[in-house]
Symmetry: C2
Subunit: 329 residues, 2 copies
């Protein structure tokens, strides 16, 4: 394993310290328990708190700031944050309007966020994301996995909270966004968890994992490597078959890198996915391309489609100022 680190035990805290310093205008970091929270937060708005295992950066800490999250709780790499940690973050950012927890559907995350919600003194509600259409149940989940649509839920619910929307309506909106998203990914290589020191799984030079999860969990099947157009056809086909967007409905096309795939290939996959949608007479209204919901240095990508509506488009376009997503200010 070759990684930039000092000791395996301090990877997370060393990295969080750097993140906090590099983005001190937007966030601050609390250590033990670890959470990243927004500075200059207005009083009286619903606070959005998310989190999960580290190794998916910029998700979630990179989305803390104006118009998105109020706090993010990073667990150790691919390990859920603890209930105490989540509760501490929620108590720190609640200003009386309550807390909306946004949780990816993994058994450990769901359980720990539920326990945190029980500990938490304020009003609260939760949205559980489960956008991955690849498999119905998986290694770490009952039901579908929550993956890249979590960004879309956080952006749109975050913009609503910033505009003064109350807790009940923020939750309903988050659930609507989640229902209107579908994702599927493919891995060309494994990643290496620092504490493990060796690749999570192995793929030969001729193989890829179709439908992979963001921790390297198995997907639908291991298949022969093929060209970008065929990969895009399978991913878009699976998502469209599940999500059933209507002709004329505005779509967000989000091509997400898993960390180790160059920008050039992600835009090439965007082009391939866009042609798949155009062939079906579907309209791309918004686009996002980049490494946002990653799996350390895994080579691979996922495609997410969101069936937008007028309110979702308006909230997607609303100003956001975080380390990883920024526009309009």
């Amino acid at each position: 394993m070759k990684k930039f680190l000092n000791t395996v035990d301090t990877v997370l805290s060393d990295s969080l310290r750097g993140f906090g310093q590099a983005h001190a205008d937007i966030v601050a970091v609390n250590f033990e328990p670890n959470f990243v929270f927004r500075v200059n937060k207005p009083k009286g708005k619903v606070a959005l708190v998310s989190g999960g295992g580290s190794g998916h950066e910029p998700l979630h800490a990179g989305f803390v700031g104006y118009g998105m999250l109020d706090a993010a709780c990073p667990g150790q790499v691919f390990t859920s944050p603890t209930p105490d940690q989540i509760n501490a973050a929620a108590e720190a950012v609640n200003t009386g309007a309550g807390v909306l927890f946004i949780v990816k559907n993994y058994s450990g995350d769901v359980m720990n966020f539920e326990m945190a919600a029980e500990l938490f003194s304020g009003e609260h509600a939760s949205v559980i994301t489960n956008d991955d259409v690849a498999v119905e149940n998986s290694t770490y989940t009952t039901g579908r996995r929550g993956v890249a649509a979590t960004l879309v839920v956080e952006k749109i619910a975050g913009a609503a909270a910033e505009a003064g929307t109350d807790l009940v309506a923020c939750r309903a909106l988050g659930e609507r966004v989640n229902r209107r998203c579908g994702s599927m990914g493919v891995a060309l290589t494994s990643c290496t968890v620092p504490a493990a020191g060796k690749p999570t799984f192995s793929l030969s030079e001729a193989e890829m994992e179709m439908g992979v999860g963001i921790h390297g969990e198995p997907g639908r099947r291991r298949v022969a490597m093929t060209n970008a157009d065929s990969i895009a056809a399978e991913l878009v086909g699976a998502i469209v078959g599940n999500l059933k967007p209507k002709t004329g409905e505005p779509l967000l096309l989000f091509v997400n890198g898993f960390g180790g795939t160059p920008s050039m290939e992600l835009y090439l996959m965007y082009d391939a996915a866009a042609r798949q949608l155009q062939k079906r007479g579907l309209d791309i209204a918004r686009s996002l391309v980049g490494n946002y919901v990653t799996s350390l240095e895994m080579a691979g990508c996922s495609i997410t489609l969101s069936r937008m509506d007028e309110e979702m488009l308006r909230l997607w376009d609303a100003p956001v100022h975080t380390a990883a997503l920024r526009w309009g200010r």
Copy 2:
């Protein structure tokens, strides 16, 4: 070689098509000759034109837009753009105030931009970046290589051009920024050029290339892999020794990923570099962390320091709206 592509010959054009579609609000793409140019460009400003081999994305196409470049000319992977291609871009974006060419110091790039300047019908000037302190001459250069400081030159000269600064002053500013920057990088793995189909070089599990260039060119020496603090000490030590920043001078600390290194490790390297600067009593005034000047999927990073002054800070902070750098609007 496992990459998302259809055919090796169409990697660049397929990717550019995706880039143009995903960012149609900011740029348009001209094919044959290939260049990416800004849409909604005001008349009468100096036009900034850059370019170089592909594979370093988001450099340069990701920096086309308000407050930065007017056009970028991507060559094939790690191959200079042609004089005709550069001239076509310059003619397309010149609105009468002239063109500033920003060129990384590689022999092929310098020669082709010089030939383009001779073909070009308008007023023009050039800035050649050469911030890499690792080696005095290299595989592809006479003199030092131009690397990540190119982003800093493009951002600051771009903000000045947007504010109406004339060609002579934009060139002088670009040259001043270049003189005030130093960079050095380290590679943990090679990358694979699609047309070659195999890694450019090989490094064992125990080695790294200290002072590597952004095409995988040899650096100072091949050394045993060590911890992040020791790597940061060598990179920062070399840059500071060359750049000689003064106590109290505001610095930009830019930790740049080469493409295959996760965000978590880049922030960890930021923390390690920041401690090196603090130990020397130096002040970090601005920060940038991410994959900006890459080498396809190479694992590794570079550190760039810029000795900022009041004008540079003001222009760095000025609004920018490109695919890869965006703030203030």
